[in-house]
Symmetry: C2
Subunit: 315 residues, 2 copies
């Protein structure tokens, strides 16, 4: 019944004192004001302005509208300002979820970049394994999920349902075999998995364990998994103690101290892809786009820095 335009007009009349001035103030012509008032009057069924001679005055009802206009228009302006702040990255929120081993290096670097570039957007970070983070993304509880996908026997097979989602490849994370320094193969240039079929194995998270089993299956053995822990530092400790060998991604080795163990590249090499995942719509949200850019940059997936350089520099 009453809309913002009507209120704006009433307030302009109250402020300016005449239809003509109100029209000028609003950038309209005088007849526009005339009929706007007439429409308002017949909509509300009340007299809003009192015409006396060639001057107009607001009636009580008109003053009521003009008075309310102040608050309503202010609220609308505030909403608009908030929206444009979000659009202009002067505000906004990104809810990031990343799997634990990325929290050590990738995420902190991303947050630093984001903070430096857009200090006014607030970033929320939650540690979550890909199944949960992707579920949160689907549920709407998360804007960007950092996940990983092993390149299994059949290359490119992603272990999660990524339909309806968009992914951005951040980096390839090579998986290495970690053995004690004292191990017979510790000095090898590369490790052939079948050489370690008799070892005791230390497995990581469920999906990593699945990957280990898959690789071993290809190599023709079934590994003897003696320990399971999601804590990579603990895995390295167990290897150091000579209690077994483990497959550990580069991403971890770059972040955790591992002087006491030997890390061998696999032959043939095995990698996992680190992916940033979001939805097509969120991709167009400035803050989310900025977060994705920061992730790429932190991962070295930016055109200027090739993934190889980055991995090489740290390995």
């Amino acid at each position: 019944m009453i809309d913002a335009a009507g209120l704006r007009v009433m307030k302009a009349i109250a402020d300016e004192g005449s239809f003509t001035s109100a029209a000028n103030a609003l950038g309209f012509t005088q007849p526009a004001i005339s009929q706007m008032v007439r429409r308002l009057e017949q909509r509300t069924g009340t007299v809003l302005v009192e015409r006396y001679g060639r001057q107009v005055r607001l009636t009580e009802a008109g003053q009521v509208l003009a008075r309310h206009a102040v608050g309503v228009l202010a609220a609308l302006d505030a909403a608009e300002e908030e929206i444009t702040a979000i659009a202009g990255l002067r505000a906004g929120r990104v809810r990031l979820q990343a799997f634990p081993s990325s929290s050590a290096t990738l995420v902190p670097r991303t947050l630093a970049i984001l903070k430096a570039r857009h200090p006014d957007i607030t970033v929320t970070f939650t540690e979550a394994e890909p199944p949960e983070s992707l579920a949160a993304l689907r549920r709407g509880d998360c804007d960007v999920a950092v996940a990983f996908a092993y390149e299994g026997g059949d290359l490119g097979e992603l272990e999660e349902d990524l339909s309806l989602l968009v992914t951005r490849r951040l980096m390839d994370d090579e998986v290495r075999l970690v053995v004690p320094r004292s191990h017979a193969h510790a000095g090898d240039e590369a490790a052939t998995l079948s050489d370690f079929s008799g070892e005791e194995w230390i497995a990581g998270c469920p999906r990593c364990r699945g990957h280990l089993l898959s690789l071993a299956d290809t190599a023709g053995f079934r590994p003897n998994v003696a320990f399971e822990t999601e804590d990579y530092v603990a895995q390295l400790g167990l290897v150091t103690a000579g209690l077994g060998v483990a497959l550990v991604p580069d991403l971890i080795l770059n972040a955790a101290k591992h002087d006491e163990v030997a890390t061998l590249p696999l032959a043939p090499a095995s990698r996992r892809q680190i992916l940033a995942v979001t939805t097509p719509d969120l991709l167009r949200v400035p803050a989310v786009a900025a977060a994705l850019d920061a992730l790429c940059e932190a991962a070295g997936a930016d055109p200027k820095v090739s993934p190889a350089q980055l991995v090489g520099a740290k390995g």
Copy 2:
């Protein structure tokens, strides 16, 4: 840029969780919501809803709009409610100005009627002589002015400029000659003004004095005005004390005690019209219209009661 309709839609989506439900809640069809959202999105340049599969969720920007919608829509409702209250006489204001001698009878009766009939409208009353009350009306500081106009030598001549104003005739107020009980003509049925050319006169307000001079001029003499006071009770007191004679309207005589004096109708009779004056626009304001009706009723100008009856009953 953002209007109330858009906010209403965003809030409905937030509340209902889907376009279809929102459309039902608002009484629209689903495509209406679809394109409303699209318009809003391209106006603001931001993504407002996130489509995931066949469900929609608000983005942060969308939630901002939905959040602001609550306040804005509440304010609009409040404004609308105030307007309809005024239209329905459940609220509203009338600023009444009346000349002093009407304050005694006419105005109190009017206020009582108004209060009984529409207890929720607030009436402001200011005592003012017609020139000032009409000026206030023109200035917009008053909604209804109760004025009087003498029917001078040339009948129907109104002493005020009533262009642009509307008048409603409330009653005819006959002017009587007031003389001491002891006066030689105290027992006459009617008074011929020329018989009193030698008297000392007690004049009232400037316009009443003007009327006296006009009547005397017609009767062929120039009255000797010994006293001037706007206080009618004082006038009666002066007459009682034998200090002179005075022309006093019936309206006063009906209200003030005057046992000690004789009141004679003039021959030929002289009257003043009591008028309610307002502007054409204000006439359509419910509270003003109600006030006018009450005035008419209080004055007996209502069709059911003729002015003659009323005046006769009280004289």
